[in-house]
C-alpha cells in the first residue's frame, strides 16, 4: 500500500424503502426521514436518508480493506455535507494520503455516481497493529 492507492468502492442506492427499513431497524423515525410533507415543511425539499446508512457503508469499505485491524485500531471522522435523497446512486471512496511507521492516513467519503458530487467527506487513520495484514 502506498500514497495514492484507492480503496475498492462500494456502490449503494438510496430508496425510500431502504430508508424506511433502516428507520425500523434503528428505531429512528425522525420525520425528516420518513415523512415527505414534514421534510418539505422544514426546508429539506423532501425526505433524506439517515446519515448512519452512509456511515455503515464507509465502515464496510474500511473493513474490507483493513480487516480486523480496522476494528481494533481504526478511527475516522466524517462530515455530512449534503443530504442523501431517495433515488441517489452512491459510491464510497477512499484514498491513501500518507503512510508513517505508526499509521495509514486516508481521505474517505462517498459521492453520487452520476455527477461525482460529494455528500460525505472525512478522514481515517488506521494504526499499524498486530493484525495489519488481515483483511
Amino acid at each position: 500500500m502506498k500514497p495514492g492507492d484507492k480503496l475498492k468502492e462500494i456502490r449503494f442506492k438510496i430508496t425510500q424503502e431502504k430508508i424506511n427499513e433502516f428507520a425500523k431497524f434503528s428505531g429512528d423515525f425522525n420525520p425528516i426521514h420518513v415523512d415527505e410533507e414534514f421534510a418539505k415543511s422544514v426546508g429539506l425539499g423532501g425526505t433524506i436518508a439517515h446519515g448512519a446508512i452512509g456511515m455503515a457503508y464507509i465502515m464496510k469499505m474500511l473493513h474490507s480493506e483493513f480487516g480486523r485491524n480496522f476494528y481494533e485500531n481504526g478511527k475516522f471522522i466524517i462530515k455530512f455535507i449534503s443530504p442523501m435523497r431517495p433515488g441517489y446512486e452512491l459510491r464510497t471512496f477512499g484514498e491513501v494520503k500518507k503512510i508513517s511507521d505508526e499509521e495509514i492516513y486516508l481521505s474517505i467519503g462517498f459521492e453520487k455516481v452520476d455527477d461525482n458530487s460529494k455528500l460525505v467527506v472525512g478522514e481515517a487513520w488506521i494504526k499499524k497493529g498486530a493484525h495489519s495484514s488481515d483483511g
Binding site: F25, I32, A56, M59, H63, Y71, F76, F80
Partner: protein, 130 residues
C-alpha cells in the same frame, strides 16, 4: 414508563452525563443488519453496537423532529466476537456551540465489553431545531 424530555439546545449542559445502559446484541439484529447492508462478515459489526449504545442518551431525551446528524467520529479498539454479546455504554454532552445560526450539540458515547475492556468510542454532532 419514564417520560422523556425533548432534546433542546438551551437545556443541554456541557459535561452532562448519561448513565450506563447494559444490552445484549441479538441474533435477530445481526441478521437484520446483514440483510440491509448485504454484509457477510462473521463477526458482529461495530455499527450494531453504536445503535444500541445510543440508548444511554435516548433513555433520557427524545430527538425532536428536524434534528440533523451533522458529523460523526468513530474510534474502534476491539473486534467483537460472535460469542461476545453483552455491552455497557455510557455518554456525556461533550460540547455545545452555535455556528452560522445553527445550534450544535456534540455527544460522546463509550462502550465497554462485559469484562470492562474498551470496545469503541463515538462522537457525533446534532444540529438541533431549538
Amino acid at each position: 414508563m419514564k417520560k422523556k424530555k425533548a432534546m433542546k439546545f438551551s437545556e443541554l449542559k456541557e459535561g452532562e452525563e448519561f448513565p450506563p445502559v447494559y444490552y445484549e446484541i441479538s441474533d435477530e439484529k445481526v441478521k437484520e443488519y446483514k440483510k440491509i447492508f448485504g454484509d457477510s462478515e462473521t463477526q458482529i459489526p461495530p455499527f450494531l453496537c453504536f445503535l444500541y449504545s445510543f440508548r444511554c442518551i435516548f433513555e433520557k431525551y427524545s430527538i425532536q423532529p428536524g434534528t440533523i446528524h451533522a458529523f460523526q467520529e468513530v474510534e474502534l479498539f476491539k473486534e467483537i466476537k460472535m460469542e461476545e454479546r453483552c455491552f455497557k455504554s455510557y455518554g456525556r454532552v461533550k460540547e455545545k456551540y452555535t455556528r452560522r445560526n445553527k445550534n450544535y450539540a456534540v455527544f460522546e458515547i463509550t462502550t465497554e465489553d462485559s469484562k470492562g475492556n474498551l470496545v469503541n468510542r463515538i462522537k457525533f454532532g446534532f444540529v438541533l431545531p431549538e
